[in-house]
Symmetry: C2
Subunit: 429 residues, 2 copies
């Protein structure tokens, strides 16, 4: 019987640096290109990527019936979408086979010098691309701490949570066209801003540029319009998870958002990490979420552990300065689970599509150093965040780089998410 | 010099029924298929569609340099997107050539019996498809009458318009996956509903299913992320316009929409008409919109006529019953123009993509019989709408068919939009 690719005892013949996000137990999927190689799918291992198209050409997946006649071309694409559409048996078969090929005691790839040269590239030598082409992007609002903080700041501390919040995994549709891969600079947006004490709005650069620490799940299995997803089967539709920064211009947002929700305060850019960690790899890290009170309506009711224990952190690096970690929190704190989000989303018959991104909303913890946005960390500008270089921040300045990282760890195995990073460019004049 | 395809004196050798939406001056674009022919682009003429792929194979576009090496394959696609990406010179060249081929005094196609049989199909013999694959769909809220009515009903009649409304063409991102072509049935959604006098929400079929009469513009020319669109050039990005029904479940919407906007109350389905009327064909129908007070900020400031005089109507047909026209209004009434919507949308650097749909929001006029939704026509259920069969409606019933139509007319030329129609199916139990 095949060894589980999650087994803590597995070792690779590839040297994995201590603390690497990408041991043999992880094997996240992404898309890369180089000057010589067009876009191709890959799996991360240690400091390397394994080129799945090259591996396919060496016949390493030849006997995987789960791929049907899709290989090798499914591995030579600009996004994971076509691979996702093959379904979970195919995802699992490829991850299992890659795990086997990389095991310390498996010579097939290890001892084929030519194949090693063709299939393994240093991560520093490749350009990672946006992992999926999302046809749809939904942003939820599922951290009770975040929703409470925002409600306290902008509405009423005594009634910070709106009446619908504990019944509905609140979400809204975001913009897909402006989702970019980690490393892409983010231009500070211009827009309408009106402070409460100003009579009329003015147009100009946002003065309250912010990040939002989020995780997004990638849908792998589509549904038909008019059909729903039973909560007990919701996770079957999820391929994996990645880090996500939902950049926000708070001043644009607060002036525009009534009554139809955030728009230009959000859609100037969102950053996604290049590596999608499979739900399979995260299986050992299930945890129960917070108790839900009142109990969710039956279509959102679930028992068992449907959250994932992922440590998260946000670092800020000023131009030419050193990095300061400004927040540490955990994805396991989310009030609404991904399964609940997805079952809710499809409960009216709305169809979901392979490659879609569904982001969690800002992930904030209960303490002042575990908040997932600058808005909350600096509490609307009232307690500026100190940085290592002696400066402080109420919101982001031009030149600031925001980097988010995450990992799960247990039994000596660290399943990392890599990072999602972006640097703020000055607004166009 | 070539005759303008808009000239009222043009006549076709094809018999155009009196009152047809599709005279030779219109020539809207769409996508069709039959059992024998895979998806292909087409132009509507009278009772027929002109198969552009077939026409291309007969060499009728051979000399159009604007098409580069894109033909004939650009005409054998499931959406207009690839054709749109060719740019306005290509759109114009094809429309001009089709106009020439269909002129009463032009024998090239007319006298080639075989080509006529290959290129012209009765509309009744083809299945029309969704005209574009929208990567993004934005719904605006640009009728001052509609926004005032909704504000009056749900908030405060004395302050019906929110403070931002006269400064911002308010909009939000909608769902692309559930946009379907006219003729597709719409399943009544289930969802959470909570009446003001109920303590907790329940889950079940929407009791307040509604339509929204809208027009959507199709973007033909993309922009890069981070770039903006000057208002004076905004119309250059627009390919054309089509009818759009933004079905809405008012009870789901009113419970879920704070603070992030409409979600499941909208994304169970939106219906788009199959024919996109080019902005070129609508050129003779420009009108000035309502005066804007206060004056828009400079980036939204424009002079001249940027609205379009399009008569619109909504008809409702109960199961087995006859059709009742329940609303008549005009697209020229919109407070915010399409150019203003687009310039605003891109003002923060958000990129727009060819094939995107940008809907107007509900189009309501100033009188009780010119309102664009059942919510307004029946004024939140307080004045039920009488139908021809003696029944009345507060909201839509299962089996109801809603059909929207539109046309512009001047100098004996009628530029019609066809129709967007859909029938309500009962909710899944």
């Amino acid at each position: 019987m095949a060894t589980s690719p999650n087994s803590p005892t597995l070792r690779s013949w590839i040297d994995i640096p201590l603390g690497s996000d990408f041991p043999i137990q992880n094997l996240p999927f992404g898309v890369f290109e180089t000057d010589e190689r067009g876009p191709r799918l890959a799996v991360a291992i240690g400091r390397y990527v394994l080129d799945l198209y090259a591996a396919s050409q060496y016949g390493f997946f030849e006997d995987l019936n789960e791929l049907g006649d899709a290989q090798p071309k499914v591995f030579r694409r600009r996004s994971l979408n076509a691979f996702l559409r093959l379904g979970r048996p195919a995802w699992r078969a490829v991850r299992q086979r890659v795990s086997e090929l990389l095991r310390h005691d498996e010579p097939r790839l290890r001892d084929n010098e030519e194949a090693v040269r063709a299939c393994l590239l240093r991560q520093s030598e490749v350009r990672m691309l946006r992992p999926t082409k999302p046809n749809n992007y939904t942003d939820f609002y599922s951290s009770i701490e975040h929703a409470t903080n925002v409600g306290t700041m902008f509405r009423d501390p005594a009634n910070a949570l709106l009446p619908n919040w504990r019944y509905i995994p609140i979400g809204y549709h975001g913009r897909t066209s402006s989702i970019v891969v980690s490393g892409t600079d983010i231009r500070r947006p211009n827009g309408q801003r009106k402070a409460p004490d100003e009579a009329v709005p003015t147009f100009g650069p946002s003065r309250q540029l912010d990040f939002e620490l989020e995780m997004a799940f990638v849908v792998g299995t589509s549904t038909e319009l008019g059909s729903t997803v039973d909560i007990s089967e919701a996770e079957d539709h999820i391929f994996g998870l990645c880090l996500f920064n939902d950049w926000s211009a708070r001043d644009l947002q607060s002036w525009e958002y009534v009554p139809l929700g955030p728009f230009l305060g959000k859609n100037f850019g969102s950053s996604v990490a290049p590596w999608v960690v499979t739900l399979d790899a995260l299986e050992p890290f299930r945890v129960a979420g917070p108790a839900q009170e009142p109990a969710p309506l039956p279509y959102l009711s679930q028992s068992g552990a449907h959250n994932f224990d992922v440590h998260l952190e946000v670092a800020l690096t000023p131009t030419g300065g050193s990095e300061s970690t400004i927040s540490r929190t955990n994805f396991g704190l989310m009030y609404w689970s991904m399964a609940q989000q997805l079952a809710h989303h499809a409960s009216n018959g709305c169809n979901i599509e392979a490659g879609d991104l569904y982001a969690s909303g800002t992930i904030s913890g209960p303490t002042p150093d575990s908040l997932g946005s600058m808005l909350e960390l600096a509490w609307r500008g009232t307690r500026p965040v100190p940085l290592a270089d002696g400066s402080e921040r109420k919101f982001l300045l031009d030149g600031d780089t925001v980097t988010m990282r995450g990992f799960a760890e247990k039994d000596g195995v660290r399943i990392g998410f890599g990072e999602v990073s972006g640097t703020v460019l000055p607004a166009h004049s």
